[in-house]
Symmetry: C2
């Protein structure tokens, strides 16, 4: 196979298999090329991925070695994307009765969801995450967005047990803002003891839901390695029960009377 053909094939293969260790012999067998040619191809792909903010190729040497595509956006790209999201959410027609924001269209756009996933995955790529957890319903697309880049399973917490989940563990928790007692249910076979878990959700007010997921994960003796939320509300900061998290957006102010919303960058770029 010619270099030009190989580059197309290897680029698509690597993009489809993020975080997966691919041995050089695998590539040289697949494309009928010497290992030295494959190494040169990989160097080109690595350089272009870095240049375009797609990520980079990590080389692991030794007999069990190979190459891993690590998704990694650059700050220019992330910053531009977040700015764009802020603008999109500041559209006054999003204001719903009670000062809530309509966001389902944003969460329904697969390209947006993929980009949100890309940003969180970039941030969490070196934490050795084993799985992504979220609570039904709105967090699910975002969780898959992150999972598709980290190449780990998604686990969905539910509000009520379903027969198709098999035996479950359930907890009661107090929601942060409304102080109501709520329930969360997780299938028993979904998480193994000692797993490194990343919590993803669309929106955080006081953080009660995320805190509930943390308590549930304690029952499974799993480690919460990272928390990512698309948007956080500003006004609840003093009561917040969760402190270590990464947010892309902060909804600073929803002024329903004057039809104005202020959305700014979250803490993604802090530190």
């Amino acid at each position: 196979m010619k270099r030009s053909d190989r580059l197309v094939a290897m680029t698509s293969f690597l993009i489809e298999h993020p975080m997966e260790l691919i041995s050089l012999p695998h590539f040289s067998d697949k494309y009928g090329a010497a290992k030295s040619s494959i190494s040169e191809d990989l160097a080109i792909i690595h350089r272009m991925f870095e240049q375009n903010g797609t990520g980079y190729l990590q080389s692991i040497s030794g007999a069990a070695g190979g190459v891993k595509f690590i998704p990694q956006t650059n700050d220019t790209y992330s910053s531009k994307f977040i700015d764009h999201l802020c603008k999109e959410l500041e559209d006054p027609s999003r204001i719903l009765p009670g000062g809530y924001l309509f966001m389902s269209d944003v969460l329904g756009n697969p390209a947006t969801v993929r980009n949100i996933g890309r940003l969180f995955a970039s941030k969490f790529a070196d934490l050795e995450i084993d799985s992504i957890i979220t609570v039904a319903t709105k967090g699910i697309p975002l969780a898959y967005g992150v999972a598709s880049f980290l190449n780990v399973p998604v686990i969905i917490v539910r509000r009520d047990p379903k027969v198709t989940e098999g035996s479950t563990v359930s907890i009661n928790y107090v929601s942060g803002s409304s102080k109501k007692i709520q329930t969360m249910v997780l299938s028993k076979r979904s998480i193994k003891e000692g797993e490194n878990v990343c919590i993803i959700d669309d929106f955080m007010k006081a953080g009660g839901t995320i805190n509930g997921m943390k308590s549930l994960l304690e029952e499974f003796q799993a480690n919460v390695k990272a928390i990512g939320v698309l948007a956080e509300a500003e006004d609840e900061e003093e009561d917040r029960v969760v402190d270590q998290y990464v947010s892309l957006l902060q909804i600073k102010n929803v002024d329903a009377a004057n039809g104005k919303i202020e959305v700014v960058k979250g803490n993604y770029f802090n530190d």
Copy 2:
């Protein structure tokens, strides 16, 4: 930019932008290359995409023309993937009380979900689908899988209205197998009149839920252009209220007493 560099950049760009018309000048500006060079690059990418079952590049000529990446798997690939899924589901430890199957791990695997999406998208690529609809919870990942290849939004039907959905349209429907009356709710601003919609769900027994979505879509005067389900149950066929659908799998027999499950290919390859 050199051809080798361009091929990597253009391959990743096209994979990230399926079904999107990209003008040749866009590429020649972006990569500082003559249109003739870009055309040669695209010919290489087209050939490799076809060869690997990734899809193909559709050229649209004229002033408003350009190139579109159409995801399209080949039958060898699809067949191998479906066989693998059948095997995975025949694992007897999946049997739950009542003869239900535990499938959350399969639906939680982002690579599996992406492949399922790829298969349905291949089948529905020329139907000019405007959006994908599904009902919370389990169909959501699959709907995003399909949507990410067709590059259209996902719309989620809920069982109860949520304040964050704004005003909604709700219908009551009779579930196919249990004959119980159930409710479905859809945000009013989610679908426009005349839209071409594709229904995606994880599992179909008698088809009551899918029929419910069809009735709901009638309220919006939307056209149901395609229905895709991951798995259908065999034993309900005579009572089935939905007839035009594509299924990847058919669960033929769950023998809880002897710990045996039989899963075969669905109607995906028929016609």
